[in-house]
């Protein structure tokens, strides 16, 4: 079913919307949450919760990209659960590895709590992604948005694990330069 049709079902308060969204994007959301939580049951719960949150938020919201909308909700739920589980200790697993890799890419002074600066940084990151070749962009997003393992990214894009590591490393360096030029 087309996304527009699913969104229309949401707007009409037709519960088939949840079923269709789950059928189409449940797997995607599950992959995201599982990457973060490494627990099938927890991941599934996050997806279910995400679908219900989507049900509650559409309308009034009308997502432009339904897959991203649902995946983002699911990811946030999973991240919150991850943070709660690791509040007292430095976390492990892929999210922590991703955080480590993103260390020092922006200056200490950057305050993303300031909405303006946060928006500018987001625009810069989006601008950076736009300029990246598609394959590199997918690698980057898979790693730093989906928190995929390097191995999985390699399998997904059809290159070696080493190739992914090198590409990500260079992309991070490029991002760092890109952001530095823009004052971040």
């Amino acid at each position: 079913m087309e996304d527009t049709e699913i969104i229309r079902l949401f707007q009409q308060r037709d519960q088939q919307a949840i079923e269709e969204a789950s059928k189409k994007y449940g797997g995607l959301c599950n992959a995201v949450t599982k990457n973060i939580l490494h627990n099938s049951q927890d991941a599934e719960e996050c997806v279910n919760e995400a679908l219900w949150r989507a049900w509650e938020s559409i309308p009034p919201q009308k997502p432009e990209v339904l897959s991203a909308f649902l995946a983002k909700i699911a990811k946030n739920i999973a991240l919150n659960r991850y943070k709660a589980d690791h509040r007292e200790k430095r976390g492990g697993g892929e999210p922590q590895a991703v955080l480590d890799e993103l260390e020092n890419l922006i200056s200490e002074g950057t305050s993303v709590e300031e909405e303006t600066e946060r928006r500018e940084l987001l625009e810069a990151v989006n601008g950076f992604l736009k300029k990246l070749p598609r394959k590199k962009r997918i690698m980057f997003v898979r790693r730093y948005w989906y928190c995929d393992r390097i191995t999985d990214i390699g399998a997904r894009v059809g290159v070696s694990e080493n190739n992914v590591s090198v590409t990500l490393n260079r992309t991070r360096e490029a991002l760092k330069k890109y952001l530095q030029k823009r004052g971040f």
Binding site: N30, S67, A68, K131
Partner: protein, 466 residues
């Protein structure tokens, strides 16, 4: 919040289209990259297998291995591949040399050592079982196919060997050849496909055969005999094949089998079929460029500067031949060959990455399906209009003062393999840009490498990224 978390949180809010792209679209070189790749390293059709290998590892739609239905004894020329579609690791090859051992003769591809059935993405548990059941059902059906399905000229088998298998095929058959459903099913789509990348009609029919197996029929004419919702039986005529948009003998016909793919994925898969078809066209266009290059061309101005030459070899590699030709204001500009005017008028090149800051009058002449000549910086007294048929040497306009170069003259360029329509000349094309070394001292009578510096229009930053 730790500083590394700041960026992480910001990345969390990136544009949804990138999330969708990475999460739901298949990982495959973009069309432009494909074309660039083709341009760099000659035309090859083997990448069909490479595409399959990539598809095999994509998560959103499980497409692990591919079977490439190929030539047969009936004289059709799928992909005109010349035997270049060797299997790559992880795929099952049903190309000409292997077709004889295809499952119809008992060699089940699932027994192949080469095959790697990869279950990927979210497919697991009940869904995976559903896929396996659907495929088994399909393979049992497929074994019984007679040789005359889906068209009387094509003999092929296409069993599926795992979740996400798909077969693609492009065959040259006469225009109007009847296309038939390969198995019982229900039409889920019948209509024009938004083939933005093709300079041609692209009607498609998608048929659902069971819960996870579909077939797609591309390149059909308008007279489709079914519509969405219709039940069809195996062998039923559903439409007719379309004549090639290149007016070549024969037609394009494509078929795909997909598993567990919703409608939009089917369209996405069919786009890949289109890409393969485009490769075929590219090869044909390469021939056209070669033929055109042998012609005795007229120079764009009567008295060309020393050193001017047609760099037609660039047209074969996806490059272009672009040069600024200094000429007195009012000098007659001539079309270099017979052709049809496809653009004549002001053109704002700001968004074309040409490194020319302003717009100007532009005339583009299509010489054949592969070659265009473009004249940019023409005076307002344009002598032709869109649709005019020209003969070689015909005056089309006059040179003017070119604002971008601060001297009189115009930009002349040839465009070759790599563009499908004139539109793409100005949207997808990323050429090297020739710029004057020194604008203020640009009053040169001769053209040589010393007068120009070739530089990418990309910024240093973009070069780093790419």
């Amino acid at each position: 919040m730790k500083k590394e978390n700041k960026l992480f949180e910001v990345i969390n809010d990136i544009d949804g289209k990138y999330i969708h792209e990475a999460g739901y679209e298949k990982v495959e070189e973009s069309y432009a990259e494909e074309m660039q790749s083709v341009g760099r390293s000659k035309i090859r059709f083997a990448p069909a297998a490479r595409i399959a290998a990539c598809l095999a590892l994509v998560g959103a739609v499980a497409v692990p291995a591919v079977i490439f239905a190929s030539g047969n004894s009936l004289g059709m020329t799928p992909y005109q591949s010349g035997g270049d579609n060797a299997a790559v690791e992880g795929t099952v090859d049903f190309s000409e040399e292997n077709a004889a051992s295809a499952p119809a003769e008992g060699n089940n591809p699932t027994d192949s050592d080469d095959e790697k059935t990869v279950y990927i993405g979210p497919y697991s548990g009940a869904v995976k079982e559903e896929i396996e059941a659907g495929i088994e059902e399909w393979n049992n059906m497929a074994k019984d196919y007679p040789a005359d399905v889906p068209t009387s000229e094509i003999n092929f088998v296409f069993p599926l060997s795992g979740a996400g298998n798909f077969n693609t095929m492009f065959a040259s058959v006469p225009e109007g050849t009847e296309v038939r459903a390969v198995a019982d099913g229900r039409v889920i789509f019948a209509g024009e496909y938004p083939a933005e990348k093709l300079d041609a009609k692209a009607n498609i029919i998608l048929i659902e055969h069971n819960s996870c197996v579909y077939t797609g029929y591309l390149w059909l004419d308008d007279d489709m005999k079914v519509e969405a919702g219709d039940d069809v039986v195996r062998g039923q005529a559903i439409g007719s094949a379309l004549r090639s948009p290149l007016e070549r003998e024969g037609v394009g016909f494509a078929l795909g089998v997909y598993s567990h793919a919703p409608e939009n994925d089917l369209c996405d898969c069919l786009m890949r079929v289109e890409v393969l078809i485009c490769r075929t066209y590219l090869e044909l266009r390469e021939e056209l460029v070669r033929e055109w290059s042998k012609k005795d061309l007229v120079t764009p101005v009567e008295n060309v500067p020393d050193g001017f030459e047609f760099k037609t070899e660039l047209l074969l590699t996806g490059g272009n031949s672009r040069i600024f030709i200094p000429a007195e204001k009012g000098t007659e500009i001539r079309t270099v060959d017979d052709g049809e005017v496809v653009y004549a008028g002001f053109y704002n090149v700001e968004h074309e990455d040409w490194s020319y800051p302003s717009g100007g009058n532009l005339i583009a002449v299509k010489h054949n399906d592969a070659v265009y000549s473009v004249y940019y910086g023409v005076s307002n007294d344009i002598k032709v209009k869109i649709g005019d048929t020209l003969t070689a040497g015909q005056v089309i306009g006059y040179s003017d003062i070119n604002a971008d170069f601060y001297e009189t003259g115009f930009v002349f360029m040839l465009k070759g393999v790599g563009e499908y329509t004139y539109q793409y000349v100005f949207t997808d094309y990323k050429p090297e840009v020739a710029t004057m070394l020194d604008d203020t001292e640009g009053q040169t009578d001769t053209l040589s490498e010393d007068n120009f510096v070739t530089a990418s229009e990309k910024t240093e930053e973009e070069q780093e990224l790419s």
